[in-house]
Symmetry: D2
Subunit: 337 residues, 4 copies
């Protein structure tokens, strides 16, 4: 659609953000608009071979670089930012995954502080086959290989936090951030509550694919070229990030222990049903109890993230969020998405 503003931003090496909040915007966007960006991988591009150990080539806290933040004109606290992912395309023909000392779900960590020796630090490189849309896992020992389906997504999508805070790009919370859910793929609309003027939206942490829970803490990390449609819902708050695709409405919760992440996502879903459809809370509790899908996003980050997915076919036939997802779908289609 020629009448949509198109903002394209490819950061210079010194233009990445390492936090949500606390950073000046790199560009301003007048919604609705198309946003085209390049995102660097979570290693800042420094893991390129099996010899590139994160503990040696990365320099904390300069990991998980974010592209942005973008100042959304008109965005005020109490509004909701809607970001529809039109396409998420790996910018390289390969990705990398690693173990990282004292990080991951199945090892002692800085929080689950134990006396054990850390696990070994290893790198796995994945070659992508763009035609077949696969990425190849190769075992470090024993030679087993398998082609896994590509399923490109962004691990980190968020806005500036509330409460005057600035959070590391490794953290997921109510502002979004490092949620690491495979649901953040092309075709999905992400809703984020605005906490500060201009929202200050940024994103990064592209994954060619990821298991649910992101068990070792690292997905198939790669740089991405990503196209979004961005719009604003005035006067409607969004306490925790929500997602929508053609088949599901979804809520997220990020907390520790993991049951609290689950509780947040599930209550948010019930409250969403109440606000959109006038559904009684106890009826919503019952319907969600029988109908919800509850895939884990991450069980490794500073907060763990749980997703609650409700099939739209189980719900009244009205759209949510004022029909924003369909609107953005249409705008994206006009744009070629």
């Amino acid at each position: 659609m020629s009448d949509l503003e198109v903002v394209r931003f490819v950061p210079e090496r010194d233009q990445y953000a390492w936090t949500f909040g606390g950073v000046a915007p790199v560009a301003r966007i007048r919604p609705p608009a198309i946003l085209e960006v390049f995102t660097e991988d979570a290693f800042f591009g420094r893991v390129r071979s099996e010899r590139d150990l994160v503990s040696e080539v990365c320099e904390f806290p300069f990991v998980n670089p974010q592209t942005g933040p973008f100042y959304i004109e008109g965005a005020q606290p109490g509004d909701t930012l809607a970001v529809h992912f039109v396409s998420i395309t790996p910018a390289r023909d390969w990705g990398a995954s690693t173990t990282i000392p004292l990080f991951g779900a199945l090892t002692n960590t800085h929080a689950t502080a134990l006396l054990n020796e850390p696990l070994p630090e290893l790198v796995w490189l994945y070659q992508f086959d763009r035609d077949a849309q696969t990425c190849r896992f190769t075992a470090r020992r024993g030679g087993f290989t398998v082609d896994l389906p590509m399923d490109p997504m962004h691990g980190t999508v968020g806005v500036a936090p509330a409460s005057l805070e600035v959070r590391s790009s490794l953290v997921p919370d109510a502002f979004g951030g490092n949620m690491d859910t495979p649901e953040m793929r092309a075709g999905t609309t992400c809703y984020l509550g605005v906490n500060v003027e201009g929202a200050l939206f940024s994103l990064g942490d592209g994954h060619a694919r990821q298991g649910e829970g992101e068990t070792c803490g690292v997905a198939v990390e790669t740089a991405m070229n990503t196209v979004m449609v961005v719009d604003l819902i005035k006067g409607t708050p969004c306490p925790w990030p929500r997602l929508e695709n053609d088949s599901y409405i979804m809520t997220t919760g990020s907390a520790r222990p993991l049951e609290d992440a689950f509780r947040i996502a599930q209550t948010e879903l019930i409250r969403w049903l109440a606000s959109e459809y006038g559904m009684d809370t106890m009826d919503g509790y019952q319907l969600v109890s029988q109908g919800v899908e509850a895939p884990l996003a991450n069980v490794v980050d500073a907060n763990y993230t749980s997703v609650a997915k409700m099939p739209k076919r189980y719900l009244p036939g009205r759209s949510v969020m004022g029909g924003m997802h369909a609107n953005l779908r249409e705008l994206a289609a006009g744009y070629g998405g």
Copy 2:
């Protein structure tokens, strides 16, 4: 297959078991054999209208009745029992769900002990349409109804526990029990490690369907007529319940907090890959990190249950557990399953 023993057992009202362990067997089975049973619903059939509140009509601890236990001839500690579900068919045209005071994921409970007033106690009745294979949700307030797909399963499947213990049928743990995973459906083989001579297998808690996490703690509860093929794998232990269907191998973990349930299921999956395929543990950690699906089972019971599902197409082409699932599939097919 006329040469398979068929054991059929429909309990009298006084023949149900309320625990795993601590109960004399109701029948003996020489594996492989067909087992046909009736299971009563978790309310012992006492919730039949919206006026039948659990706190009034049920008598603790006499809830979640189990059919069994069955003594499996030849089963010794260190063996694994394999139970393939041929069919799970609701025995009634309706099911019931409820809230129960101080039980469920989104309320104060006996364990998450708070000072709040409990939530209201309510009953929802579901009518089943056997042709359409749906169960109808009807909101208590406001009149919304929706037909949800039937997806019959058993919430509770297990053997006698280790360590001389006897556990309530409400508990899931390493012996199986009240795991409440929707994966326990027809077409699935469940593997259970044997802890005592004869294994003492029992099952119950039929659900016409259930959301992942079983948020309010109660699914669409109904009586079931269930057909299984039961066999024994001698000399192979199974530390935590595993499941297999045509597409996935799956592990389970049951613990609190929920991240520990996740950790158990994920390490068990990695160790399974190591033992079946000789895969290096770190390679297994990596492959699982990118390939696993991690749906929640329950976040309400005495232990929470997490499932780790690995698509077989991501794994070497050999079968697991000595090909038991395919064998039981075949036996079931001969039997009409």
Copy 3:
């Protein structure tokens, strides 16, 4: 007091119990009565030198032997058993502590299942100085020694569980069991809710001393000669174990995660204030918030245990539990306690 029945019981090697519930009573007691027992150490006496590794000399599940159970005449569900510890005296001149593979707060465990190698398995022997009332810690490496004060206690004190269950003596829960709190020392009265006819009281797991939290999972384990006064409070339930000494009333909670154990202990304390003093729940919440002491008991067992201690000097001047503690104190004094 010559008119108190005295029951003395020193088990034969084959008379120990390994569970709460599921065991026939070894003796009957008509309360109030004096109970004198010998308890073997948690290793069943098999760790006697630095070469005696638990994984080699102990035979699971035959660890943590209990002396009992004792059938308390007249005890019915809904009553409360009161056990006042008159004296707890090490029966040997030495104790032992160890690390145990996959057990302890600072290591991967069967529940917190990680891929790390287990910690080393080691034994520390402690010599007791009965005159100085100390036990000597000697570092395995480097020669540091220090005399720690003796503070004898029982880690495991309980009755048969509710819900038809039988639980390992390694488990703490509402029935008591392996709470591992240093508060279970001489001078303390322990209140336990009765779940089955006769209560079926047993105890064991003597500790010469223990840190709060029992970090490595093993205290200074030793055999004990223990004298108690046992009595019954008819018609008063006790949902979770309570303790009382001359200065404090105390509640316990055992659960995972640890905050749930805390929540149970704290709500139980507030409800105790409400039932004994008619204190409004919100006022109790406030008074407890400012006055409570909250030492950890164990952060290693199947459930973690938190203790809530309220100084009696902050409370109305009336005694609790009908003055039972003072009564038992007096009976104990008559007996020489």
Copy 4:
């Protein structure tokens, strides 16, 4: 000691800080120096009667005001700041405590998100008796009153966080912050690892007294006049806040779930013993297991805080942290502390 610099700072109403990090320093301190400050109470002084509900009179995020930050000259990342509390004196004759909707250990919260109605919001005012050193609790219902001992402390003590973050003053973490431990009293030295140039130290949240765990989330809040001696340990890091008084060395951990807070505090204590005394890690694990005291600090804040206290009499006779506590004690004595 006339040769110590004395910095005195009483903030204007618009000079308080609401975060750790992200705020320009209010003064510079050349260590060692005396620091005298006034701190406003956590309500910013706005709760002055039983009618002043936090939800009405406070304006989030402007709660828990901090006095500071102070720029410590010479402080670099990798150094440790030492703050010895000489005196902590209530600046008013009264304090206030409250319940706050969706906050506290025994209620549903924003993280433990449930469907229950929140608890009632109430205020309790405490009058202080400076001669008797008591604060008087008065029940809102039923008229019970009791004088509790004063035990003045600071709930919030910290420096700017690492990782470019800015954290709300309600958060405790590795930078210190809202730890809410009663151990932060006069006579104690607090060690804080420096993350940014100048450390940026601030403090607030005075409590006339507090129970362990701060159950309802609010202590007896009051303004304080506080005197400290501040010094710097160059080249020694301090990963998590440590405390020291004449009798104990102490470590803290802040995390969720609570067992992770416990694990951090306990491993930090063992590592401290290793670094100061060369004690083998496994020997430290054993000694701590038998000797540690583990009082809870808070089970209500964004992270829960656990304290590990080791009696100095159980340790080798050398001082820790280069004798800093004794040095500051002496400087304080010279100053009249």
